[in-house]
Amino acid sequence: MQYPEPIAKLIDSFMRLPGIGHKTAIRLAYFVVDMNKDDVAKFSSALKETKDKLMYCSICGNLTDEDPCVICRDKTRDQSTVLVVEQPRDIMVMEKMKDYHGLYHVLNGVLSPIEGKGPEDLNIKSLIKRLQSDEAIKEIIIATNATPEGEATAMYLSRLVKPAGIKVTRLAHGLSVGSDIEYADEMTLSRAVSGRTEM
């Protein structure tokens, strides 16, 4: 016997999500059948709103429901530093830390020719334009991941930006806080030693 059409469609939709296979999709679909109508309505409108109401901030490239985004509009933030991240969700992590009060810029990925991502596919042009037009910016902090692609992207940015006389810094690499040296792997340790700081 075949699934009734609405359920078949629902299963098919769930399977489009990452990490969800056929079995899980079936279980979720039957769960939705038993949910009460209001919850389902909320769920479906939440799904729809992510597409209808969300956009990318025209200044920093972050996901937002108003343009410019909350961070870019906040004049109490430190306007002289811009922290460059790979993904919008990296901003949420940085904000949780509560120690950084400057601005952000989202690249939306890293340079990776294999995945077809060259310099023109990232929000690099908008960063350069921003640095040229906004004289308050004195420093950019590059916070791409410590992968070969992240490193290459950081190097590329620093070479573009440095000639303009703006200070370019990179997040430190090394021991994670609260960890034992004993358990650190050799590569992390060697980075920690070469990036040591004077006391």
């Binding site: 294999i114 060259g118 070969p148 692609e149 490193e151 190097m155 792997d185 050799e186 590569m187």
Partner: protein, 371 residues
């Protein structure tokens, strides 16, 4: 280090086998296609978590079964270590003393092996890829830093080649990004080349002595690392880095035209030189074999120096490929210090006389019987 016990479950043609080995020489005797090499392969897998014969785990698992297991007890200076590799459909798990290791890099190195198979005799004469693979495999086992640098280098190389192709096809035009990739590649390339040079220097010290002995002092074996860098650019990591960067800069247009990275450790080669002459072009068959043997035996000593323990030697059907003089040398140099596993179809001649007190295992269709 010595492998005292090996248990195999559903590995290749072994369904359930348990063997106790001798700390000196173990002979695996049997006709063709009975499972002699499979047992050496199991030991190799136990050491390096992967096979030298296949890249597909499924090949290692007995037909009709879904999981295979290799278990071994290794005796070292500081006590016994229990190693276990579980192979399944979805992947493999490596355990040290029953504790699963999240990273394979923390497992490799617990048991060090050197494998000598007939195809290793072609190391001198064969294609450059064979010699690069040789360096990468052996040095990677000795140094986890080498392993790491090599894998980073390969990743960046892939990106750079891809970008060069895009530049070639005019899909991209940003030369600044190419420079960044070149610098990154040069940085890891320099680390690799420098480590290769250092380890080759040490390996040459050992190999030259062994070679001189086999040739009764008539021949002097040397290694030459062949790369596009000038000799004076090879003195330290920094010079190599600058040298590679210059090469990339000078040949930028050529590389874009060809859409490929033309310089770096992935293009380098190793030359064997006897009395000043290149063995691969001017050496006799015999000299090529002696060189290959000297290098393999030198590895044993280098591994001892780098890791403080003698490795285990796996000889896959090589005795039959060597003449009496070379057989004698091989067997003499391993006697009493290196635990050895050798496969052969018949044990006769010089080998029988020289091997004192071997433990012989008769292998026949996946069954092992101690003689």
């Amino acid at each position: 280090m010595k492998l005292r016990e090996l248990k195999l479950r559903n590995f290749r043609n072994y369904s359930d086998v348990e063997v106790q080995f001798s700390p000196s020489i173990n002979v695996l005797l049997g006709n063709n296609a009975q499972g002699k090499t499979n047992m050496l392969e199991a030991i190799y897998v136990l050491a390096l978590t992967r096979s030298h014969r296949t890249n597909n785990n499924r090949d290692l698992i007995n037909w009709e079964n879904e999981n295979a297991q290799v278990y071994g007890e290794v005796e070292k200076e500081l006590g016994t270590t229990k190693l276990e590799i579980d192979l399944g459909k979805k992947g493999k798990r490596a355990k040290v003393n029953q504790l699963e290791q999240a990273k394979l890099s923390s497992y490799v190195g617990e048991l060090n092996v050197i494998l000598f198979a007939p195809e290793d005799l072609s190391i001198v004469k064969g294609a450059p890829t064979v010699r690069r693979r040789f360096m990468d495999m052996e040095f990677g086992q000795m140094s986890s830093r080498y392993l790491y640098n090599n894998s980073q280098y390969r990743k960046i190389l892939k990106q750079r080649n891809n970008y060069l192709k895009q530049l070639q096809l005019k899909e991209a035009s940003d030369k600044l990004y190419l420079d960044v990739l070149s610098d990154q590649l040069a940085a890891y390339g320099a680390k690799l080349i420098f480590q290769r040079l250092e380890l080759l220097k040490k390996l040459q010290g050992w190999a030259a002595n062994i070679h001189a002995e086999i040739s009764q002092g008539k021949e002097e074996l040397k290694f030459k690392y062949v790369c596009a860098l000038k000799k004076k650019q090879q003195t330290n990591e920094n010079d190599i880095y600058t040298g590679l960067k210059e090469l990339f800069e000078e040949n930028k247009d050529k590389e874009i035209r060809q859409g490929n990275t033309l310089y770096g450790p992935h293009r380098d080669d190793l030359q064997f030189i006897i009395n000043g002459k290149d063995v691969s072009t001017f050496g006799s068959q015999g000299q090529q074999r002696t060189s290959a043997l000297s290098v393999k035996l030198a590895e044993i000593d280098l591994m001892k120096e780098e890791t403080n323990e003698y490795p285990i030697l796996l000889l896959d059907d090589v005795l039959s490929e060597l003449d009496d003089n070379r057989q004698t040398h091989l067997l003499k140099s391993i006697q009493d210090k290196v635990q050895t596993f050798l496969t052969t179809t018949s044990l006769s001649g010089i080998a029988r006389d020289l091997i004192s007190d071997p433990k012989v295992f008769n292998i026949s269709s996946g069954q092992v019987v101690e003689e």
